[in-house]
């Protein structure tokens, strides 16, 4: 096969992927992007912000419930701008662990928090679906253990209808086992803070290493270091690496076979 044929074929595939993407996001509020508040994070995102009506995944390496990897703090900080116009924040807290003083310190209005507790997976998916579908919900944060393909797609459709932001906290094992319908996927690692802050500022700010695993039209494996200070504000930035590009999920599905072949080839 000549090089021209290969190029035209890849061009067709790219066009098709683009069409699938536009079809897939047709239900979503168009052109609404909300800045995370952090320049370095925004630079990694399409249109410098999170798209209204999309899902975001924060994954961690450690699956332990007792690890304290910082994902919830990051999620709350990302969610905060979505509450600015009076919308509500929904948090799934089935284990009854949330601590209100700390939420208040993050400047999250407590009167606009709805906490959902669920006992089983079907109620959990139903609750998420309803919350994401509501126009009153600016952001939703939930831990995810197992999320099968159909439920994930259901959540994606719900968030597109509601126009808010769904933030899923999951461990890497779960994220790799099940397909994701999230628009943006970060891997989060809590960084040791000793090299970042010394003296009286110790443990008044916390640092995270974030690796961008997926964002439409952006480079994946992009790494940044971000911190959150005692007032819940972003601090500092440090971009590290700009390797290969990533496509939207629809585009990935469209080009799934060549990708798998590439991966198999090493």
């Amino acid at each position: 096969m000549s090089e021209t044929e290969l190029l035209s074929r890849s061009g067709i595939v790219r066009e098709l992927a683009q069409e699938i993407r536009s079809l897939e996001t047709a239900q979503r509020p168009q052109g609404i992007y909300v800045s995370s508040g952090s320049e370095s994070m925004d630079r990694c995102l399409p249109n410098c912000g999170y798209a209204a009506g999309s899902l975001v995944e924060l994954t961690c390496e450690r699956p332990s419930l007792f690890s304290g990897w910082g994902g919830l703090s990051l999620a709350l900080r990302i969610a905060r701008p979505w509450l600015d116009d009076g919308k509500y924040l929904v948090i799934v807290d089935s284990h009854r662990r949330l601590c209100a003083p700390s939420l208040a310190a993050l400047k999250i209005p407590l009167e606009r928090i709805i906490v959902i507790r669920t006992d089983n997976a079907s109620d959990w998916v139903w609750g998420l679906d309803q919350a994401l579908r509501s126009r009153a919900v600016g952001a939703l944060i939930t831990p995810v253990k197992d999320l099968e393909d159909r439920s994930a797609r259901r959540l994606q459709l719900a968030v597109e209808q509601g126009g808010g932001l769904g933030i899923l906290l999951r461990d890497r094992v779960s994220a790799s086992r099940y397909p994701s319908w999230a628009e943006v996927q970060w891997q989060v690692r809590s960084a040791a803070s000793k090299d970042q802050a010394t003296g009286p500022r110790v443990m008044m700010q916390r640092w995270f290493d974030l690796e961008l695993l997926r964002a439409p039209g952006r480079q994946s494996n992009r790494r940044i270091r971000l911190g959150i200070d005692s007032q819940g504000e972003w601090i500092g930035c440090d971009e590290r690496k700009y390797p290969q590009s990533a496509e939207h999920l629809a585009a990935q599905l469209a080009m799934a076979t060549p990708r798998r072949r590439d991966m198999a080839a090493g």
Binding site: G68, W69, A104
Partner: protein, 559 residues
């Protein structure tokens, strides 16, 4: 004040009605002494804050379900002052007017037995009294079995007998024959007259403990010595003076009743009928400018004739749906959606043998629909309130009232008590009526930025973790020469359900100690030294040392 105590606590001497200080001294002595036979470990006891709203919700919910036995069901009206013999100022009894209904069941005793069986099937332990007046029935139901109730309940709590076995052994039904004189109540204590603590104490000082002794006193002197309330209570109980029941289903409640000529066996037909009923109810509500705070749907079930031929009972308990709303609504689509959610979660299991004969839809509590005025200044809290109300109502209808909650701060030094979560739907502020007027007058809650609390942890994000463990986990900590934590590990990894084999993790930084001590009036003393620690793996923990046992615990994660 101790509101309730389980079998173990009662066995140790902690009793309802006891002040927290007394209970604290008992608990404190247990903590310091060697292990008590009632407790596996000295620290195996805990205090749970009494949730008044939850109690009210339960008793009102039970009263609404009891309306299948009589249309006139109410919760006892309490006084402003606590009655002697009671530990909390809340309604605890349900009053049912059964006048003329007993013949349906084959007599008063048969009706009481049916009621008792239903209570047992609901998992409730009840005592029933039947008498001519409310005061008499109250006295016998509350005090006829008083001496034995504790023993019977202890047996059930200790699994020595089940609820149904206990009922078979002791039916707990006391019937006072019509026209009975005071002699039928002679052995009851004076507390059974619903008297306040002060009056009862005065009478006790005079050596008057039973009704028999009380009626011997000259009636004329009672008012001057004890006030007019005592005579009123005596008349209500001993002379059967009439007393009204504040019924749930009063003339003010709006309702729609649909009777079917033939029972409905299919869900589709039920849905259509409900749609019509809700539409009619909403029109009624709309005509007076009200919305429903609370909705009650009663599906009157009936067994088909096939079953009757097989000598099965024809009447079965009705299926009841109870809904509390986040804000008043008269939107038929919304209300129908909520009812559908409830039916999906708890279906009536219709079939060829079980059908619906009647649908009763009631709005026991209504209030004016909140009118909206365009705000002069932008009010963020109210902008999406209507949308949020629909979401909250829907979630609560399907998931359950207690599964959809809001958070608030509580001024308390103990971290686990600083967060209060309360259901967002169906709240009542007292035992009699929903204080809608006050709610309507209430200004919207300001955003947090304008009204910051002075609670520790609210000033800086990293001084308190975002998540607290419901039960702190024991950890092993190695200290340096200054007594500061330097290395730590979980004593037992709860994820793996095995003993610790994990190696110690180095603690890079430890900020503390932050000493936290409970107030003397709020239960047993809690004294802890908290540290915020950063592990070399980048994780942050909130740990404390219990100053009584010197054991270290992981209390929360900076998630």
């Amino acid at each position: 004040m101790v509101s309730a105590a389980n079998a173990q606590a009662r066995a140790l001497g902690v009793l309802p009605g006891m002040t927290a200080t007394q209970a604290k001294s008992i608990a404190g002595s247990l903590q310091t002494s060697s292990s008590h036979p009632g407790l596996a470990n000295p620290g195996d006891w805990s205090w749970i804050e009494h949730d008044t709203q939850e109690d009210l919700e339960e008793i009102y919910s039970l009263a609404e379900r009891l309306m299948q036995f009589s249309p006139l069901v109410g919760v006892e009206s309490i006084d402003k002052i606590l009655w002697a013999g009671r530990s909390i100022l809340q309604p605890q009894s349900i009053c049912i007017d059964i006048t003329g209904l007993e013949s349906w069941y084959g007599g008063e005793m048969a009706m009481a037995q049916a009621l008792q069986r239903w209570l047992t099937s609901e998992g409730r332990f009840g005592c029933i009294g039947i008498a001519d007046s409310l005061g008499q029935a109250w006295a016998v139901s509350n005090y006829a079995f008083r001496k034995h109730v504790n023993t019977w309940m202890l047996q059930i709590e200790r699994n020595e007998s089940s609820l149904s076995e206990s009922l078979q052994q002791n039916p707990r039904i006391e019937r006072i024959a019509s026209g009975a004189t005071w002699e039928a109540f002679r052995n009851l204590p004076i507390e059974s007259l619903r008297l306040d603590i002060e009056t009862v104490a005065k009478l006790h000082r005079l050596g008057i403990r039973s009704i028999e002794s009380l009626v011997c006193l000259p009636r004329q002197s009672l008012t001057s010595r004890f006030g007019s309330r005592l005579l009123e209570r005596i008349d209500q109980c001993l002379n059967a003076h009439p007393e009204s029941i504040s019924v749930r289903n009063s003339g003010q409640s709006l309702e729609v009743c649909i009777d079917f000529e033939h029972p409905v066996f299919h869900t589709d037909e039920l849905h259509e009928a409900l749609q019509d009923g809700i539409q009619q109810l909403c029109q009624k509500l709309d005509s007076i400018g009200h919305g429903a705070w609370r909705l009650l749907v009663r599906l009157g079930l009936e067994v088909s004739t096939m079953q009757i031929e097989q000598n099965a009972p024809r009447a079965v308990p009705s299926h009841v749906i109870q809904l509390g709303l986040f804000q008043t609504s008269n939107d038929p689509k919304h209300l129908l959606w909520l009812i559908d959610g409830c039916l999906e979660r708890n279906p009536p299991h219709l079939g060829k043998n079980l059908g619906i004969k009647q649908i009763l839809i009631q709005a026991p509590w209504t209030a004016p629909i909140r009118w909206k005025q365009n705000p002069l200044f932008d009010c963020q809290t109210l902008r999406y309130r209507d949308e949020a109300a629909k979401l909250i109502d829907g979630l609560a209808a399907r998931l359950g009232r207690n599964q959809v909650v809001g958070l608030s701060l509580v001024q308390d030094p103990i971290p686990e008590r600083q967060t209060k979560s309360k259901p967002l739907t169906g709240l009542r502020n007292d035992g009699t009526e929903q204080s809608t007027k006050r709610k309507l007058r209430k200004a919207p809650i300001e955003d947090f930025q304008k009204n910051r609390s002075m609670l520790p942890g609210t000033e800086s994000h990293w001084t308190r973790p975002l998540q607290l463990l419901p039960t702190p986990i024991r950890i092993d900590i190695q200290l340096d020469a200054n007594g500061t934590p330097r290395r730590g590990r979980l004593s037992c990894d709860p994820n793996k359900k095995s003993s610790a084999s994990k190696e110690f993790e180095t603690i890079l930084e430890a900020i503390g100690p932050e000493r936290i001590e409970s107030s003397w009036w709020s239960g047993p003393t809690v004294r802890r030294s908290y540290y915020r620690v950063a592990l070399d793996s980048g994780l942050w923990w909130w740990i404390y040392q219990d100053l009584a046992s010197l054991q270290w615990y992981l209390h929360g994660m900076f998630h």
